[in-house]
């Protein structure tokens, strides 16, 4: 440094100059991403919020009348026309929440079992590890069709073989459990992959110490593995819950548009928005779904102190 003969007083300003230049360059590098996100996410979200306050039709969005919150709640002559007054919306909410809670719970339990099995040493481990990737790689629409075929009452292995010709998907009350089974099959292996990655980062010497102290495998799991896995597990749980809350493909493919509207919030919103062309009501439902999901994110982040860094 001394041999470079740089005047010491000039160094800080030059460094600040470089830092400012770097900051400017960073903005330029980020610009394409920020513009793209503004176009595909920011602006459409603004339009959705905007139209949720108007009575508008999808075919002619420009002819609109201001309604305020009328799309959400409005009563004329004793008849409620807001979607919050529609029992079908609440059925969709109830079914989506049931779907989310049950399928995420089962995925976590099964995923944990599979991850623990794959994490232990045995012959065929590599094979099982590879097999885990198969359900995950299958497109959701394909897995929905595969299972619709298995549930079919005249051809299906489950519908005809096990249930003896019962049309499981015809009734939305039984269908929701059939749909949960599909989602659990499809995403358990994803959960298992994430948990396995967490397991493999755990320090092995702690288990050696626990073995020395004579702790059983069961105790080791509850006292060591689970607490250490907590951060990884929580992040996986958050992502899976948010995915399950916006579920659409499985319902729409397996039940059709009408019943999908009573089993998935997104299905209900899409029916209002696209099938019925009600841009205002559909946008209002979309805003409600957005708010529900944001509230759940906030609950997760504050209650469990999930950290993403």
């Amino acid at each position: 440094m001394t041999t470079n003969a740089t005047p010491t007083s000039a160094a800080p300003t030059r460094r600040r100059g470089i830092e400012a230049a770097r900051a400017r360059q960073a903005i330029w590098l980020l610009l394409p991403t920020l513009i793209a996100l503004a176009v595909v996410a920011g602006y459409p979200l603004y339009r959705t919020i905007f139209y949720s306050l108007y009575d508008a039709n999808l075919t002619s969005p420009d002819q609109r009348t201001f309604l305020g919150l009328g799309n959400f709640w409005f009563t004329t002559d004793g008849v409620g026309t807001g979607f919050l007054q529609d029992p079908k919306w609440w059925t969709a909410v109830k079914n989506t929440l049931l779907f989310t809670v049950v399928s995420v719970f089962l995925e976590t339990v099964f995923g944990m079992i599979i991850a623990l099995v794959v994490n232990s040493a045995f012959r065929g481990r590599a094979f099982l590890r590879t097999a885990m990737l198969v359900p995950w790689a299958i497109p959701t629409v394909v897995s929905a069709q595969m299972w619709a075929y298995m549930y079919n009452d005249s051809f299906g292995l489950v519908g005809r073989g096990i249930l003896g010709g019962q049309a499981l998907l015809a009734n939305t009350d039984t269908a929701i459990w059939a749909l949960i089974a599909v989602d659990v099959w499809k995403t358990t292996s994803f959960m298992a992959l994430l948990i396995l990655a967490g397991l493999q980062s755990l320090p092995g010497d702690m288990y050696e110490a626990a073995d020395m102290d004579g702790a059983s495998k069961w105790t080791q799991f509850w006292r060591l593995t689970l607490p250490l896995l907590r951060p990884a597990l929580l992040v996986a749980l958050v992502f899976r819950s948010l995915d399950a809350l916006r579920v659409f493909d499985i319902m729409y493919v397996m039940l059709g548009p009408v019943n999908a509207a009573q089993t998935s919030m997104t299905g209900y919103a899409r029916q209002a928005l696209i099938d019925n062309q009600l841009l205002g009501v559909g946008s209002a439902v979309a805003v409600a779904i957005f708010l529900i999901i944001m509230v759940i994110v906030v609950i997760y982040v504050t209650a469990f102190r999930v950290r993403f860094d």
Binding site: L34, T48, Y51, M132, Y149, L245, G282, A286, F290
Partner: protein, 283 residues
Amino acid sequence: MNLQKTNPALYYIQRVLFYLLVLVIAVYLLFPFLWAVLTSFRRAGDLFLPPLQFITAPSTLSNYTQVFANASFQRGLIFSLIVAVASVLISLLFGSFAAYALGRFRFRGKAMILYIILAVSVFPQIAVLGGLFTLVQATGLFNNPVALIFSYLIFTIPFTVWVLTSFVRDIPGELEEAALVDGASPLQTLFRVLFPVMMPALVTTGLLAFINAWNEYLFALTFTSSNRTVPVVIANYSGASQYDQPWGPIMAASIVVTVPLIILVLVFQRNIVSGLTAGAVKG
């Protein structure tokens, strides 16, 4: 610890139970897919057969010939490929710029931008569906693959930025400093120095984003009428009447769109697991 010596009987019971569990898991994970593969090779008339006879029934390729002769399926494959490749290439390009800035530069508002990108990735797609639809209509892009290419950026960009940023952070700083000392601009540094190092990460991220774009259903269903992608074609695959679901061809079409993904996933197995965990666990 050494149960094998102290109590061999218990040891073998444990081993047998363990392998039974392994078997159950393997069957659970693979059986539905294998059953679909089997169905795709069976004649329509044999689908009624009880399981054992169904398994031993003669094989046929007729479902596959029928599917490949189907014009909307052919077009679907081409559209899916165009849409998925284009949106992945755009998001890899934009994403690597952003990841370079977020992983290597210091500036105000960086944490804020990271959180915005994370927020977009957990975004419910339905929240933008109406807004995007009016936008697609207004620009005359309805039924145009370009509409899908752009709308898919909503999930491919946040994902690529997030995963690539975590890779860029792990690249040793000396490489970049050497380039800067030689007077290279940030873009030169990115393309000449970082891209070669990032290649495995770009391939992994691109592959995962490709799978997501290939599988997307809601936007494809809503923004196109005749220029459908394969998930929409498969979901709408119909037979002679509404009540006659052609399960054989549906399964054949499903296998055709799934097998390339499974092969890609098996080839890039290691990278995929690391990419997924970088995207979800670290992310």
